[in-house]
C-alpha cells in the first residue's frame, strides 16, 4: 500500500505536484478519497473550487509525497484550472467509462495540458467507474486494464468483447467507452492509461504508483527526511517542516511575500 509505514530505514523522499482534471461527476474526488483514505462515498457532493490533499506513496527506492489538487469539473470553475496545472509534474485526466462525452472532455484537457502545462508533465488517462461494466463487476485485480495488459484484461470474464461493450448488448453492462478506443488514444498521445473503480478500489493505487514511477528521477526534488505523517491535514500529524517545504517552493514560483510573521 501507499502508506509510508514501512519506512524503517529512511528512504529519500520527494514531493510530486499532481492535478486531477475531468468532467463533473466522473469520480475525481472519489479516486482521491480512495487513494488517501481508502474510502468511498456513494453520493459524493460536487467539489466546489478545488481541494488540496497530500498522500505519501512508498516506492522500493524512495518515498513520494503527492500534493494533490482535486479540481471541480463544473464548467464555471474551468477558468481556474491553469492555476492548478501550471506547476504540476503529473496530471490525472479522468473520464467515466459509461459516458462518452466525458472522454471527449478528457481529450480537451489532454490537449490543453500539452499546450500549456510544463513540458515534462506526466499525464495519465483514467477511465473510472469500471465496476459498472461487466469486466469490473468483480473486484479481481484483473479487471483493470493497465496500458500493456489491456488486451488480456478485455477477455476477463463472460468474454465481453469490445463490440458488445460498445453496443451495450450484455445486460447490466453500462460501458459506453471501449477500452480499445481509449487505449488507442492514450498510445497516440503517449499517456499512461488505466481503467479504475473508485468504488471497489480496482487499480486506484496502481495509477498513483505508476505515476510515481514515471516521474523522471531528475525532476524529483528531494525533500528533507522521510517525515512520519500520513499526509492528512489534521493537526496531529502535520509537521511544520512539511509546510515549510510548500512555502519555499511557492514563494519562489509566485514571487509573493511570505507569511507576515
Amino acid at each position: 500500500m501507499s502508506e509510508a509505514a514501512s519506512a524503517n530505514a529512511p528512504k529519500p523522499s520527494s514531493s510530486v505536484k499532481l492535478v486531477l482534471l475531468g468532467e463533473a461527476a466522473v469520480g475525481k474526488s472519489s479516486l482521491v478519497l480512495r487513494f488517501v483514505n481508502n474510502d468511498f462515498q456513494e453520493n459524493k457532493e460536487p467539489t466546489i473550487g478545488a481541494a488540496f490533499l497530500t498522500q505519501k506513496c512508498s516506492l522500493p527506492t524512495r518515498t513520494i509525497k503527492f500534493e494533490i489538487w482535486d479540481t471541480a469539473g463544473q464548467e464555471r470553475f474551468a477558468s481556474l484550472a491553469p492555476m492548478y496545472y501550471r506547476n504540476a509534474q503529473a496530471a490525472l485526466v479522468v473520464y467515466d467509462v459509461t459516458k462518452p462525452s466525458s472522454l471527449t472532455k478528457a481529450k480537451h484537457w489532454v490537449a490543453e495540458l500539452q499546450r500549456q502545462a510544463s513540458p515534462g508533465i506526466v499525464i495519465a488517462l483514467v477511465g473510472n467507474k469500471l465496476d459498472l461494466t461487466n469486466d469490473g463487476g468483480d473486484v479481481s485485480e484483473a479487471a483493470g486494464a493497465a496500458q500493456d495488459e489491456s488486451e488480456s484484461a478485455q477477455n476477463g470474464e463472460e468474454g465481453a468483447g469490445e463490440e458488445d461493450e460498445v453496443q451495450d448488448a450484455v445486460s447490466g453492462d453500462a460501458r459506453k467507452v471501449s477500452t480499445r478506443e481509449a487505449t488507442g488514444y492514450a498510445e497516440e498521445e503517449g499517456l499512461l492509461f488505466f481503467e479504475t473503480s473508485a468504488k471497489t478500489g480496482t487499480n486506484v493505487v496502481d495509477v498513483f504508483t505508476a505515476i510515481a514511477n514515471a516521474i523522471p528521477e531528475s525532476s524529483l526534488k528531494t525533500g528533507r527526511g522521510t517525515g512520519a505523517g500520513t499526509g492528512q491535514t489534521s493537526l496531529g500529524n502535520r509537521s511544520a517542516e512539511d509546510s515549510r517545504v510548500n512555502l519555499g517552493d511557492r514563494n519562489a514560483a509566485t514571487a509573493k511575500e511570505g507569511c507576515a510573521c
Partner: protein, 619 residues
C-alpha cells in the same frame, strides 16, 4: 384562491397601490375584523444594522446604545410610546401575517382570555407598558402581569408536547421525509402521479424562475415534473407585472405564497409552516444572495440582458446543493436567519484576545478576512479597518463550509472562488478553508459532528494566494497550539451552550434566544435535552417565528409580548439594545417568567464580552 397585493414596504410603491382589500381564507372564522387587516401591508422588520458592528467602524452611534441598566432602557421605550401607538399595537398582535391554516388558528383561538370575544387578540395577550414611572424591572413586569388575564388552561400538557400549530403536526419521520427527494420520472413516465403526490406532500417549497418563466431551481421535484406549476406561478406574477404592480404574496387554503423579485429573477416561497411573510422573504433574500455568490451580479445581469430566455440552471450547476442546504436549514428552523444575526462561541475575553493576537501576528499580506469558526459559531475575526463583514455573507460562508457537504467531504484544504454580495457583488474573492482536528482521539474523526468541527477560513482577493493562506494557517495553528488557545476552543465546544437552569437556577424558562442588536449577534440556550429532536426543534422555532412576527408587526411598538397557549408560554421583550425571546411551560406564572427573563438579560450583559465578539481584530 385569494390574492393579496402588498406594496413594497421599502417605499418603492406607495401604500395606495393596494387595490384589493385583504381577504382571508373563508374557512377562517371571524379573524378578519382586525383593524390592521384592511391595510394589506406586511409588517416590516425593524431597521437592522446590516453590518456586524464589531466589524464596523461606525461605533460612535452604537456606543450610545450600550445599556447601563435594563430599567433605563425600558424608560425610553415607555416614554416614546403614545397611547395611540399602544392602541394600534394592541390590535395587531395576533399572529397575522403568518401563513397558518384554519387549524392553527383554531388552536390558537382556544386560548382562554377575558377578551375572548376579540378573537384576533385572544391568540396572544399583550400588556401595554404603563406610561407611568417604570420603576424596577420587576415592578414593571409585575404591573404587566396584573393586566394580563389568567392563564389557567384546560387540559394543559407538558412543554410543546403536541404541535401548537397545525403546520407542526408532524413526527420526526415526517420532517425527515420533507428533505427526501421526490424521485425521478421513469422512462415510461407512468410514475408522474406518484411523484406529484410526493411533491405536494412537502410542507415547504422554493421555486426560482426567470422573468421569462424558465424554472431555474426548485427545492423539490425537477423542472420537467413541475413545469406546469411553475407556469401557473409565472402567469400569476406576470398578470400583476402587466398592471405595473408587484405581487408580494397570496394564500391558497393553508398555504402561503411569497414572491420576491430581484432583477430578472422571481423567487417564490411556498409554505405550510409557521412562518410570516417577512420571515419567508428573508429566506428568499438569502437564496438570492447565494445565486449572486455563485455568479456575481454583473454576470447575472449580463446573462439576462444578452438573452432574456437564458437558462440559468447551467451556469448555476453545482450550486444547487448550496441552495438546497440553505433552504433546508430554513425549513428545519434557523435562529440565525430569524434574527438576522450570528452566534459566537462563548469563551473568556482573554482567550479571545489571545486568538485575535495570533490572527494578527500571522496575518498574510494578501489576507482580507480571517475567520475562526466552530460549528457555525464565530470564534474570532480579523479584518481590515475599512471593511466590515456582513451577516448575510457570513451566513453563505457558514452554509457552504458547515452545512453543504461539498467542502467538508473534500477531506483536505479547499480553495474556493466566492462572491460575497454584501462585501462586493461584482467580483470574486478566494476562500481558503481548512478543518482542524482538535480532538485527542483522532481515530474516530468521522464522528465529529457539525457543532464540533472547527474551521479556519481565510479570504483573499488574490486567486493565487492559496499557498500564502496555507502558510498562514500553519503559523496560526502553531501559535494557537503554543498559547493554549486550541485547548480553550475545545473546552468551550465541549461545554456547549448553557441550559437555562445553568444561568438561572430553578428558572421556569426552557429555552431562550437573545439578540444583541448593536453587535448583530445572538446567543441562546442549548437545545438539549428537550429540543434535541427535529420535531421539537421545529415546534420551538414555530413558537419563536410566531413570537417574533407578532412583536415586529408593523405599527406596533410592542416591547413586551406574552403569548399563552396550550402547550407552552412564550415571552418576547424588545428594547433598543436587545431582543429576548423565551419559552416556558404552559401555566407558567408570569412573575416567575418576567423575573427569569430579566435575569437572563442581566446575565447576558454580565457575560457580554464572552458571548459576543466586540471589536474583533482589526488591521
Amino acid at each position: 384562491m385569494n390574492t393579496q397585493q402588498d406594496p413594497e414596504t421599502d417605499g418603492q410603491q406607495p401604500v395606495e397601490t393596494s387595490k384589493q382589500p385583504y381577504l382571508s381564507s373563508p374557512s377562517i372564522p371571524d379573524h378578519d375584523g382586525r383593524s390592521d387587516s384592511s391595510e394589506g401591508e406586511r409588517p416590516p422588520l425593524p431597521p437592522r444594522p446590516n453590518t456586524l458592528s464589531l466589524l464596523s467602524d461606525e461605533t460612535g452611534s452604537r456606543t450610545a446604545l450600550q445599556a447601563e441598566a435594563t430599567t433605563a432602557i425600558s424608560r425610553t421605550d415607555i416614554e416614546t410610546q403614545s397611547p395611540e401607538a399602544a392602541d394600534s399595537a394592541y390590535s395587531t398582535l395576533a399572529v397575522r401575517g403568518l401563513g397558518q391554516g384554519p387549524k392553527a388558528r383554531a388552536s390558537l383561538s382556544q386560548l382562554a382570555s377575558p377578551r375572548g370575544s376579540e378573537a384576533g387578540d385572544s391568540a396572544s395577550i399583550r400588556s401595554s407598558i404603563p406610561n407611568g414611572d417604570p420603576g424596577e424591572v420587576e415592578a414593571l413586569f409585575m404591573d404587566f402581569a396584573s393586566t394580563a388575564p389568567g392563564s389557567q388552561r384546560q387540559g394543559a400538557t407538558g412543554l410543546l408536547d403536541f404541535p401548537e400549530f397545525a403546520a407542526d403536526d408532524i413526527d420526526d419521520d415526517g420532517i425527515l421525509s420533507e428533505f427526501e427527494a421526490v424521485g425521478e420520472l421513469n422512462e415510461e413516465g407512468d410514475n408522474e402521479g406518484l411523484l406529484l403526490q410526493r411533491w405536494k406532500a412537502k410542507r415547504k417549497h422554493y421555486v426560482i424562475l426567470s422573468a421569462a418563466g424558465k424554472p431555474i431551481w426548485t427545492r423539490h421535484g425537477d423542472g420537467g415534473l413541475i413545469s406546469g406549476y411553475v407556469g401557473v406561478i409565472q402567469t400569476i406574477i406576470s398578470f400583476y407585472e402587466d398592471a405595473n404592480d408587484h405581487l408580494r404574496g397570496f394564500s391558497a387554503g393553508d398555504t402561503r405564497f411569497v414572491v420576491l423579485t430581484r432583477g430578472s429573477l422571481h423567487l417564490v416561497a411556498i409554505s405550510r409552516m409557521m412562518e410570516s411573510d417577512n420571515q419567508l422573504r428573508l429566506q428568499l433574500e438569502a437564496l438570492y444572495m447565494q445565486i449572486l455568490s455563485t455568479l456575481t451580479l454583473p454576470s447575472l445581469t449580463h446573462l439576462f440582458s444578452v438573452r432574456p430566455s437564458t437558462d440559468l440552471s447551467r451556469p448555476l450547476q453545482g450550486s444547487e446543493t448550496l441552495l438546497s442546504s440553505l433552504a433546508d436549514s430554513f425549513t428545519r428552523g434557523s435562529p440565525s436567519t430569524l434574527l438576522s444575526a450570528l452566534e459566537c462561541l462563548k469563551i473568556r475575553k482573554q482567550h479571545r484576545h489571545a486568538i485575535n493576537n495570533a490572527l494578527l501576528k500571522t496575518k498574510a499580506s494578501s489576507l482580507l478576512y480571517g475567520l475562526l469558526v466552530a460549528g457555525g459559531r464565530l470564534v474570532s475575526v480579523v479584518r481590515p479597518k475599512k471593511h466590515s463583514l456582513h451577516p448575510g455573507d457570513l451566513q453563505l460562508l457558514f452554509n457552504m463550509v458547515f452545512e453543504a457537504d461539498g467542502v467538508k467531504a473534500g477531506g483536505g484544504e479547499s480553495w474556493i472562488p466566492v462572491c460575497l454580495p454584501g462585501f462586493n457583488s461584482s467580483g470574486y474573492l478566494y476562500m481558503y478553508v481548512s478543518f482542524l482536528d482538535i480532538r485527542d482521539d483522532i481515530e474516530n474523526s468521522a464522528e465529529i459532528t457539525k457543532d464540533e468541527s472547527v474551521a479556519i477560513v481565510l479570504i483573499s482577493p488574490d486567486k493565487e494566494a492559496f499557498f500564502e493562506m496555507q502558510a498562514m494557517r500553519d503559523a496560526l495553528v502553531e501559535q494557537m497550539e503554543r498559547n493554549g488557545s486550541l485547548k480553550e476552543i475545545k473546552t468551550a465546544i465541549d461545554i456547549g451552550r448553557p441550559a437555562t437552569t445553568d444561568i438561572v437556577p430553578g428558572t421556569v424558562l426552557h429555552h431562550f434566544l437573545y439578540k444583541s442588536r448593536a453587535n448583530v449577534q445572538f446567543t441562546m440556550s442549548s437545545y438539549a435535552p428537550e429540543f434535541s429532536s427535529v420535531t421539537r426543534r421545529r415546534r420551538l422555532m414555530s413558537m419563536y417565528n410566531n413570537l417574533h412576527a407578532s412583536i415586529h408587526a408593523k405599527n406596533t411598538h410592542v416591547k413586551v409580548h406574552h403569548c399563552v397557549s396550550r402547550s407552552a408560554t412564550s415571552f418576547g421583550w424588545v428594547t433598543p439594545v436587545f431582543e429576548l425571546y423565551c419559552i416556558a411551560d404552559p401555566n407558567t406564572n408570569r412573575n416567575a417568567l418576567a423575573q427569569s427573563a430579566s435575569k437572563i438579560a442581566q446575565w447576558v450583559q454580565r457575560e457580554e464580552e464572552r458571548l459576543f465578539i466586540i471589536g474583533g481584530a482589526v488591521f
